[in-house]
């Protein structure tokens, strides 16, 4: 990034990406606010009041961090997956490929756009949650670290998906069949300590458990996973996904003939 050309190019891609999701705000920013409001009303207020405490706090307080994280995951992933695939499909990705834009700049630009949308949605959902439950913060550093690392990881995931995708169907398969089950089983709605020991062990292989719990720890100071383990897992996954994306883009997989 020392080369000033790379920095200008990075800024350009990032601005372009942010302009895109802000232009279509009705599709990108409103739906998570509505969906999460429904979750808060149904699971938090109506059903949650009958559940009682979980992890030492009210059920509503317990699910808020998980639901924010769920929005972050979905939005970071879908932003990059659909934007990069559209650029590939409409061939306007060629605008970058013919220019002296480094592969790393393309990755950082798109991922930066996905992270920006995820963070904006996280702020919106957090503000909405304020109408249902008072917000408490135990560790702001943990909140920021987990949300940024998670958004980056799923933005990278969306990029990888878009690179391999050949049709619009291919960018909905992973979210539907992999991401949604992993998120719902990732401790958003329950503490894994409620599960039988076998399923507790199985859950350890679900990376989303680490993200949700690390994030929840930042708010309520309660987690099924050691916070530092959560950060370490996130760092490892980010490093693997980034390396893979960089290698594939260098090879031209899915983007160059």
């Amino acid at each position: 990034m020392r080369n000033p050309i790379y920095f200008t190019a990075l800024k350009t891609i990032w601005i372009k990406e942010c302009t895109r999701f802000l232009r279509i705000w009705v599709q990108t920013l409103v739906p998570p606010a509505i969906t999460m409001t429904l979750y808060f009303i149904i699971f938090g207020s109506l059903i949650g009041s009958r559940i009682g405490e979980m992890g030492g706090v009210s059920y509503m307080e317990f699910i808020v961090p998980g639901l924010i994280m769920m929005s972050v995951i979905t939005n970071a992933y879908s932003n990059v997956a659909s934007s990069f695939f559209s650029a590939k499909f409409q061939r306007n990705l060629e605008e970058m490929l013919v220019a002296p834009v480094a592969n790393i700049t393309i990755i950082l630009g798109y991922v930066g756009g996905g992270v920006a949308r995820a963070l904006l949605v996280a702020i919106i959902v957090t503000l909405v949650s304020g109408f249902f439950v008072p917000l408490q913060i135990q560790s702001i550093a943990m909140i920021i670290a987990t949300v940024i690392l998670t958004a980056t990881l799923f933005a990278l995931g969306g990029l990888l998906n878009a690179m391999f995708a050949k049709s619009f169907d291919d960018i909905s398969i992973i979210p539907t069949f992999v991401l949604t089950p992993l998120t719902y089983l990732g401790g958003v709605f329950y503490s894994i300590t409620l599960l039988p020991s076998f399923w507790q062990a199985v859950s350890q292989f679900n990376p989303i458990i680490y993200m949700v719990n690390g994030f929840r720890y930042g708010f309520i100071g309660v987690s099924d996973i050691q916070p530092m383990v959560a950060i370490a897992v996130l760092l490892v996954f980010n490093a693997v996904f980034f390396t893979l994306a960089w290698y594939l883009l260098k090879r031209g997989t899915g983007v160059r003939t």
């Binding site: 350009t12 372009k16 031209g252 003939t257």
Partner: protein
Amino acid sequence: MTYALEISELRKTYRGGFEALKGLDLTVKVGDFYALLGPNGAGKSTTIGIISSLVNKSSGTVKVFGYDLDTQINEVKQHIGLVPQEFNFNQFETLMQIVVNQAGYYGVSRTLAKERAEKYLKQLGLWDKRNERARNLSGGMKRRLMIARALLHEPKLLILDEPTAGVDIELRRSMWEFLTRINKEGVTIILTTHYLEEAEMLCRNIGIIDKGQIIENTTMKALLNKLNVETFVLDLEPITKPPVIESATMRMIDDHTIEVDVAKSAGLNSVFSELSAQNIKVLSMRNKANRLEELFVNLVEQGRESKESAAHA
């Protein structure tokens, strides 16, 4: 001597085994206006794809203003502006966003990019549309937008892949004027086209490519000199029977039009003498504008025949 483009032994074999380029050699001088012609599937777009880094080559070397594509790819990219055959901009972005972003990819600051955007969008008659989304533009405007976009980083080599396809005559002529002007200002231009008249009007040098190889690389003048026979269309006062012309091959089109194929060495005097002798009045005459087209077809056919005979030998 440094060339704007120097290609040597360029080969491309696609996955599946199709050999699109079979050792292509090509040089384009600095400041040239060069036409690259060839039938569909000859390898023109593959060649342009490789030069502009959209297609990975199998082997061979490509140099742009002396910079090697393999080792100095960023310098190569900085020197090239590409106008592709198909519209490849984001249809939902405004013209201004498209051109300013493109400049940003080349490291041009937003302030400078906006100044240049004004300059080129004005020159190409698109300034009034700058805040419109690209999808609302007409086909001709979209083509001009792609030219403006390719010029924002002020490249020294502009490559246009069929820039006037589907553009009406009036607009085509204004695009020709624009391209001629920027060529005079020092931009080397390489153009592929199916309109041979366009190549004849604009280009000084020409390369004909067929089946992945260059079969002709010469000046437009030298190429046209290869034509031994030219066809003229003569408008006559109405005649009742076909005239007899012995000095040229004649075809009667209707009762007041004939076409004559005249050998360059023979000249036109004898044709006129013969017509006068038969009391036939010539009202007007024009050159049939498919000279280059015929030559092009002949060259491609000759190239294929010589390859076939070499294969049988």
